[in-house]
Symmetry: C2
Subunit: 476 residues, 2 copies
């Protein structure tokens, strides 16, 4: 290892380039026990650089190639190449932004970028922070709402507060349950509002639910509107949610972790109309936009609140006798902003809006093909976020009465198709049941630089092909 500690980095770059060659398969699936037997993972004894490279090569071989267009298993996909370059630089700089002193440039970059993002979301006078992930952003949102309503929470705790209630839709993210537990509300304090067929919150029901709690003498604190549910990609009617929150004086949070990226497109951002009235917003650029994991932004309308709610004076960190302007000492922040800044700087607002539009156009194309292609059946034909949800109905199932038994078979076939797609290394696609609906596929499109209509058709072909093979196997 060279004195400046960079010699292994050349090897890393070569490994990454090899790993990204066209011929490398999406996944070479091994069952956990088999994989354990193949890999030399024990760290007790050290190895030399040559053997380490050999180990790493094996690690890469069996890792999923998330950069391929056929990785559709999650709500993240290929990283933006500029984002990856930024992430590598951040790692090499290895600093934090506790204070301006240790991260001078990164502190300025974060401020600049957050201001740009706050403007984009319509709360230019707000405040923001890069959080360690979507679940933590949910904690930030509820903590901010609670502190704003009851500043005594900080010293006195939940025992001294009235009975608080949180509202969210049936299709919203499960992180709100964890937040209710952690923050001391308890999950019983959550009211689940039903959704329509497209996965959007029934806002009339929200209004009623809040009124009921008020009538019972409880204190409605926090409404979580969703811009991009995990499965269907539904976007709640945020304007209507804002009206209800205003009427009742309740904090409005928007979980835009997935759908927030649509704000980058002048063509599609009206789908989130009303988000600019929110008290707090969460957005994960590491999802649709393709920033490297993790990249999560939490925004709050009320400037200063983040600091007030979260500060816990650390004398040694924030000495006030420093020789520069200490208002730049932001504290407690990572430098996740840099990778996002680099992608944004490379592409500009226009480049990003084009990627967003292209993603949505691809999803729209996919919906249309699925709608018209025999054997495919859409769950919802409305394009909200670029999620396309559908069943594949094998030939022998078609034209029959879609009764309970029929649906039970569909419920079993979907995972079987997915299994074969993985074993063939053709496609990694998510599936899920939802409320009364049996297992269906979800193709969620992201800002992938390569995805086009041809690839969409290929993915559907793969599903069809595996769907037919699987039924043959099930029948014989």
């Amino acid at each position: 290892m060279e004195a400046n500690g960079t010699s292994f980095l050349d090897r890393v770059l070569n490994l990454v380039k090899e790993d990204r060659s066209e011929s490398v398969p999406l996944i070479q699936f091994k069952h956990p026990k088999d994989l354990e037997a193949i890999l030399d993972l024990d760290v007790t004894k050290g190895v030399n650089d040559k053997d380490l490279e050999k180990c790493v090569r094996e690690v890469l071989k069996y890792s999923v190639k998330t950069h391929k267009g056929t990785f559709k298993n999650q709500l993240f996909c290929a990283t933006d190449p500029y984002g990856l370059a930024g992430a590598w630089l951040s790692e090499a700089c290895n600093t934090s932004q506790y204070t301006f002193e240790v991260g001078p440039v990164f502190t300025l970059i974060e401020l600049k970028l957050l201001n740009h993002i706050l403007k984009l979301f319509g709360i230019p006078n707000g405040d923001g922070i890069f959080s360690p992930g979507g679940s933590i952003s949910m904690l930030y949102g509820i903590v901010a709402a609670r502190y704003k309503a009851f500043p005594e929470i900080k010293t006195k705790g939940m025992r001294c507060l009235p009975e608080l209630v949180i509202f969210t839709s049936q299709d919203s993210h499960y992180s709100i349950k964890k937040a209710a537990h952690w923050l001391g509300f308890g999950t019983d304090s959550i009211r689940i509002i039903p959704t329509n067929n497209h996965g959007q919150m029934l806002v009339d029901k929200l209004d009623e639910a809040i009124q009921i709690e008020k009538d019972l003498g409880r204190c409605p604190l926090f409404v979580n509107g969703t811009a991009g549910t995990t499965v269907l990609g539904a976007i709640d009617d945020l304007e209507a949610v804002a009206d209800v929150c205003k009427k009742h004086g309740v904090w409005m949070h928007v979980d835009g972790c997935w759908g927030g990226s649509l704000m980058l497109s002048p063509k599609y951002r009206n789908k989130l109309k009303g988000v600019e009235r929110a008290n707090s917003i969460a957005w994960n650029p590491h999802k649709m936009m393709g920033a490297p994991l993790q990249c999560s932004v939490f925004m709050v309308r009320d400037k200063g609140l983040l600091h007030e709610a979260n500060c816990a004076a650390a004398q040694y960190l924030f000495a006030q006798d420093k020789f520069y302007d200490v208002s730049y000492d932001t504290g407690d922040k990572s430098i996740d902003s840099f990778k996002l800044w680099m992608m944004w700087k490379a592409r500009g607002d226009l480049g990003l809006s084009e990627l967003a539009d292209r993603t949505m156009a691809t999803a729209q194309f996919c919906i249309e093909v699925v709608a018209s292609r025999p054997g495919f059946k859409l769950v919802s034909d409305v394009l909200q976020c670029p999620n396309v949800c559908f069943w594949y109905i094998p030939t022998f199932m078609r034209g029959k009465a879609e009764d309970g038994q029929w649906w039970e078979i569909m419920h079993k076939i979907t995972p079987k198709i997915k299994e074969l797609l993985i074993l063939n290394s053709q496609l990694m696609v998510a599936y899920s049941p939802l409320q009364n609906q049996k297992n269906f596929f979800r193709l969620a499109f992201t800002f992938h630089p390569e995805i086009d209509s041809h690839q969409v058709v290929q993915m559907l072909n793969s599903i069809e092909q595996c769907g037919e093979t699987v039924t043959m196997e099930m029948l014989t």
Copy 2:
């Protein structure tokens, strides 16, 4: 940009190599407003690759070179080069470990490494998780303790629980205050236990404090013992803390974020004796050990508790009808483990223990030099973690009565010396007051591959030189 998105990565590697050349200064300090004027940070318009590289070059120019041995500003320092290589690979793979499916190898690596770490800390049957940072590990610890004592917290919240009390030492990390706020305890529920001159908790006082709360009908829940306080590097008498916790039936947590790395050394791990009796432990390998930021491990003795306390069924993520062993679907985890695994694999237990021993020997050498060198005065002469805390007393201050006025001057001189050290790009060193003690320097040593006794003497020379210059300026 090439189709596989790697072309900019060559430039990144070259930039990093240039950035690490010997001749590059530790810091080129600019005041925030001046730096803002120099840099082109606005992202509205995109730039081409050449201009982007130019921007990035400027960003690097004004960033602090945390890899240099003269960066002593924080409890982290140079990243281990293998750790950095691992971080780059993780970023390139861009995956998470929600499920075995998307991160098969990384899931196995994490399990293997966590088991190795649990064994090292003496809780081989425990459970662990890589958390997003030390503050979140503190949340994990308190959440686990609370859930274990009162599982109804998950649904019913804090309002249904008795009055809970948390205990921590005067010198412990401020994150416990934030945790008490966030989790709904309120900071009033924290009892601060005084410390001795070396920064260690007075365990007799802890025992008394717990008894007092019991007598008052409150419920002592959680004791935070510290292995490595931020300023002095103090390690509480964990054996004594464990005895008190056992006597009163209270959860024992050890914040070993800083000092946990001493467990890597058979020679020094006895300083943490008693840690193996803890109910939960936090350790940040990104601090002393030099793993890239962030790398935080949270451990718990009670297997299964992490899952029980934190699970919030996400149907779409953890489908039980998968075709492989779903017990490997760990959920909610990042792949921070890989970079740590790579350093460990490269160095082995023995290589890491040598680095730990070398770090401690360097700190011991520093203590001895400071103790004997005219003009230097130790805050504590006991080596616990490799923190060396001291004042520099300029020539004109020596031999005078150390009265209130004398100390007020010392309090002002220390930050002035630091300022000059930064402006001269000689050394970035932390300073802090502590309780009744006026501003002093803290040199905290980490597993830096290059630090030796020669460099230690150079750092002290720099402090002396700037100390004398500053006093000349103050007097004229």
